[in-house]
Each structure stands twice: as C-alpha cells, then as structure tokens.
Amino acid sequence: MTDASSNDDQVLRVTDLRTYFPVRSRGLLSKTIGQVKAVDGVTLSVAPGETLGLVGESGCGKSTTGRTVLRLIAPTSGRIELDGDDITRMSAKQLVPLRRKAQMIFQDPYNALNPRHTVGTIIGAPFDVQSLNPAGGVRAAVQDLMERVGLNPEHYNRYPSEFSGGQRQRIGIARAVALRPKIIVCDEPVSALDVSIQAQIMNLLKDLQDDFGVSYLFVAHDLAVVRQIAHRVAVMYLGHIVELASREELYSRPLHPYTHALLSAVPLPDPRAQASREQIRLRGDLPSPINPPSGCVFHTRCFRAEERCTVEIPELREFSAGHTVACHFPMLEVIPGAVIEGPDSGLTPQPVPYIRPPSEVISDIAESGSLARAAGVDYVEGPDTPVPQ
C-alpha cells in the first residue's frame, strides 16, 4: 500500500505543482507587484486505499495544495492527474463527472454546512449534482449513509444547528463519501474538535477507508493526529515538500532539520518522556512567501545551515527506499536533552494584512451580492488560510 511505484495505478498524481497568487496594487491602474508562492513545485502521489498526510505550519501551503489538487483553486503550473485523467486544465464542465471521484472534508464543521438546508438535503446534494438516482431512492441512500457515519437516520429532516461539532463533521463526511469517491481531501478535519471527539472521527475515517478503499490526502498541522492516520507523510515548509517518507520512517528516523524541529516542538502527554527528549527551538517566524529566502527556503531558521544552503536549492532526493528529503545536511542523529536554537532573530517582516477601504468593500458587495465574500471570507473556504486578495 505504501509502495509509491511509478505505475499509473495512483489515484492522485501531482507533478511539480505550483500555485501562485498575484499580489496586485490597488485602484484603477492596478498592476501585479509580486506573487505569493503558496505552492512551489510540489510532487506527490496517493495510491488506492492509502492515506497521505500533508503536515506543516500555517502558511506552508498545505491547504492550498489540497484545494488545488481538487481544482478549487486554479494551479499556476504543473500537472494534476486524478485516477489517470489529467485534470490540470479541464473546464468546470469537464470536471463535473470527475467530481464523483474526488471529494473534500473541511476543518470547520460549523461553516462548511449550509445552515438553511436539512441534513438530508446536504448529504443528498452530490446525487443531485451528478443527476444520479441510487436504487431505492435518494432518501434511502442518504439514510444508509447517515447510519454508516454514526448519525441517527431519523434526524434526516434536522438542520445543522441542531447537531454538535462532532456530529456536524459526520454530516460532512457522509456528504463526501456519498458517491464512493476514490479520494477525499481532508482539510484539518479534526482540529476544531474536542480530544474525545477527535478520536471518534479518526476511527470513522479509518473504518470508511477499510470498507470502501477510499484514499485520503490528509492535510493537518497536528503531527500526532497524522501519525495515527497516515500511511505516508509529507512535510511542507513555505510551499515546498521538504521531506516525504512512510509513517514509520518519518517518526522514527526524521532527516530534515525542520521535521526534527516540528516533532520536538509537540509536547508529549507524558511528563517523564517530555523532560528527557530532543528539544529544538526554532526562532522567529515563517518568512514571507512573497519573497522567500534564496537557496533552501528553511535556511533562515535552520540550526544546521551553512553557506551552501543560502545559495543552492536542495533537490528532493531519495535517502532510503521511499524516504526522500530536500536537505544538504540531513540529520541522522537525535540529540536528546539539549536545546538547540535556530539563527533567525525573529526580525522577519510580517506581511501586513490588507484591509480594504470601505468604498471598495461596498462596491464588492454590489458586485457579488455577498457580504461574506466582500469581506474576504469565503463560505466554502476554511478559516485556516486567508483568502488571497
């Protein structure tokens, strides 16, 4: 299952994917003054029945990657193959039949469901969109699904507000699996949930995978959650995959200094183990993706960086079978106890969020008729990544 062979049996194959958002000056005579390189040359593949975890901190491009592979965001360049079909440049109309094969689960179970639709309508929507009439009717199919994800089928006519956070996430999952897709992109599906509920949802995802053989591209910031659910894990930093390995390899023998830092930053729920483990403190903040560092993007915060790292971009190369890393000086040893600090003084200039003058907002509302959209908040977009201006 974890064998990422070069055969074309992969459910999803992404090659050198780039998603750039233009940064435009404002006003009548606006021009592009830069680009946010949210995803910058990502290559990955997901096999049938496999879960690929995509981890990283906010702003690393993991969510954008997840959305781009579903074509919810237009890719700038690269190639996306879904179950053998190149969908990179397909029109919205051409994509409709392929949407059966790929679905999405969102982070925020509160905002991802339309509050004015009943649960039955929400879960049955994919059938309508694809003009499918399952045997026994849509209602029966939806109630089957509800049962399957652990909801009471009698609650068919209830509204999302009548459900708890965990139950709403179950609704979102039922909607996603309705058409038996080949792959589901899960964007932080458990991070808004309580610990005890998180475990329920993760078990559910696992059960569905066992039953239907669905693949997951599991986007998350929580490394412990990813360890629990993923077969293979890709670590992203500033638009790049810096390390990709099987779960066993990545957690027991991480190679990239950033992976080490990430792992050591997660406190263990075990006081004695926590007191005696490797501690690496990264300093400073993520550099701006508009103007990423030269060479290795991590060198400004890396405690192992040398001259070479500032000029030469490290290629993603295979260190051992199935374990690839993009680093000139991969870390082979674990340093317990000592605290290692990175060099960045923390002076990274912060990209200032653009708040629009009222007149622009008003004209946007007039154009789109939607206050939420005008305010830069998108209904279907999760709150994780700001909607690029």
Partner: protein, 330 residues
C-alpha cells in the same frame, strides 16, 4: 499616501467624466424635446428648429457632449450666429432658456440653503443618534434599551413628508408657535433663519438619527464582545475608560463611512423637505426643473450631486485610513 491620493483623484475625474457622459446620453434619449418645450404657444416647425439650434441640440449627441465639456472649462456661447447670442461663462454647466439663467449660477444661488439644512440636521442626528445608541448598548436588554430602540423604530418608519405636513399644520398653522417658514441667510436675520430651519432640521434629523441609533448600538454591542475589550478589562482599566477609549474608537469607525455618504447625499438636495418648507435649495430646484422639463438644470444638478458623493467617498476613505492604522492606502 500622497501617491494614493493622486491616483484616487485621477480616477475620480475619470469617473465624473464617464458619469456626465452617461447622464448626457440618458437625457438625450428622453422623449421630451427641449426645443419644443421652450417654444411658446404659437409654435411652428421653424421656431422649433431655430430653438434647437440655439440650444445646441442640432448636432450629434457626442458633439453636444464635447461642447458641454469645452463649456465647462472655457465657457460657451449659445446661438453664436443669431442676433441675440447667449453667453455662458466657465464653468458652464449649461443654460436654462426657461429661466434665462446659467445653470451654474442657479445652483450656486440655491446651494447655501441646502448646505445649511444638511449640516444642521447632520450635527443634530449624529449627536442624538450616537449618544442614544451608546446609551442603549450599555443598557442592553433593559427598559432603557427597549425604549430607545422603540423610538428609533417609530422615527425610522415615519415618512418625512408626513411628519413635515403634520408639523406645519400643528406647530405653524394651528398653534402658531413658529412663523410661517421663509428662508433668509443667517447673516441677514439669524432669528428668522433659525425659526425657518428648526423644523426641517428636526424632521430630517429624526429620520437619520433613528438609523444611526440602531447602527451605533449594534456596533457598540459587537465591539464590547471583542477580545481586546476583555483584555482592557483584564488590565484593570475602569469601565468608563474601557468604553470611551477602547470600545468607542473601534465601534464608531464604521459610522464615519455611513455619515460621510449620508451627508453627501443630502447635499444633493433634501427634495421633499425643501419643497414642503419652501426652502430655496437644490432639492426644490430639482423638483421645479422636473416639472418644467428644464433639462439643462436637471443635468447640472445630477452632476453636482454625483460629484458630492464621489468626493465624499474619497474623504471617507482617507479619514478611515487615519482612524484605522490597518488600512493601507497604497
């Protein structure tokens, strides 16, 4: 910042030019024929043609627009070849043959009354609306809140022509508490000015204050629930400092936008109130001109009112950037 202002002013000018063109084309499509309307009772096709020429309407619409633009900057002469040419000096917004007056002069004469009405009401409604709105927010859910909001609802739902007529009937005609309205400049006769303006001010302010009460109350309630208000309280600041310094500044910011645009809208003439109280302002001029089908005046007023709105938009945006440091104007 200054580059932003320059760019905004440039795009503003472009917008105005575009707007005037649209207005021009729109009015040229109207079935009413100004040449015919300016022609008296004994009208013959020849006179109509002559009038059309005098009005400058015998050339294509775009040529007319070009003439209009030229007139705006350099003035223009109507019926230059006829025995009695009409001079319209720059800035020429057109010429009303009906009234025998330049449109610009007409508007300039009417502007003071409108400005006095708008500003007086503006001050009244801001003071009443904002203070009552804050009061209601701080007494949320209690009888004071419900009373203020009830009053706001009533004020909001009464049409101004109705209150205006009722006020005239009771206060002026029936109980004669005020003399009959007759507008004079405040520099000539301050007392008569106040006696004339007080009712229209109050009526106009009631309408807007009701809206601002609700806006202010909702803004304040939203802000009072914000995290930084909790931070301010956690610092140990007295509640009045929390309200005045932390909540008000954030809560009132969006009101700047609404207030600026509302004021600009009123400068285009409070049509109903000016007519009811026979104030010689832009609004009543507009009404009369529509009745008379005096197209040049209507075009002029439309453009002037639009200019107010566009300029107010710019000012509001600049003001916003001063109040909210997160707004970058670049």
């Amino acid at each position: 910042m200054s580059a932003y202002v320059v760019r905004r002013v440039l795009s503003m000018i472009l917008l105005l030019a575009l707007l005037s063109l649209v207005v021009f084309i729109l009015f040229s499509l109207l079935p009413a024929d100004p040449a015919r309307l300016t022609c008296g009772k004994s009208c013959t096709p020849e006179i109509i043609e002559a009038n059309r020429h005098r009005l400058g309407l015998d050339i294509p619409v775009f040529a007319q627009y070009w003439e209009f633009l030229k007139g705006l900057f350099f003035g223009r002469t109507y019926a230059a070849n006829s025995p009695d040419p009409v001079q319209c000096s720059a800035p020429c917004l057109g010429y009303s043959f009906k009234r025998g007056e330049e449109v610009f002069v007409l508007i300039k004469e009417r502007l003071p009354a409108t400005i006095w009405l708008a500003f007086g009401a503006f001050v009244l409604w801001l003071v009443a609306g904002i203070s009552l709105g804050i009061y209601a927010a701080l007494r949320r859910g209690r009888w004071q809140d419900r009373t203020v909001m009830g009053v706001a609802l009533v004020g909001y739902s009464l049409p101004s022509f109705f209150i205006g007529l009722v006020a005239i009937f009771f206060i002026i005609i029936r109980f004669q508490l005020l003399p009959f309205p007759s507008y004079v400049s405040p520099f000539e006769n301050p007392l008569q000015f106040l006696q004339t303006m007080i009712l229209p001010w109050i009526i106009l302010a009631t309408l807007y204050a009701a809206f601002y009460m609700r806006l202010t109350r909702n803004q304040m309630l939203e802000v009072l629930g914000d995290d930084y208000i909790r931070t301010a309280r956690a610092k140990g600041l007295p509640e009045r400092v929390v309200i005045r310094k932390h909540a008000l500044r954030a809560g009132l910011t969006p009101i700047v936008t609404a207030a600026g645009l509302d004021l600009a809208g009123l400068l285009g003439g409070a049509i109903i109130l000016e007519s009811i109280f026979s104030l010689p302002g832009i609004g009543s001029l507009a009404v009369n001109s529509v009745n008379d089908a005096d197209l040049p005046v209507i075009v002029g007023i439309t453009l002037v009112a639009a200019t107010f709105i566009i300029v107010a938009n710019l000012i509001v945006d600049l003001l916003y950037a001063v109040i909210d440091p997160r707004v970058r104007l670049s």
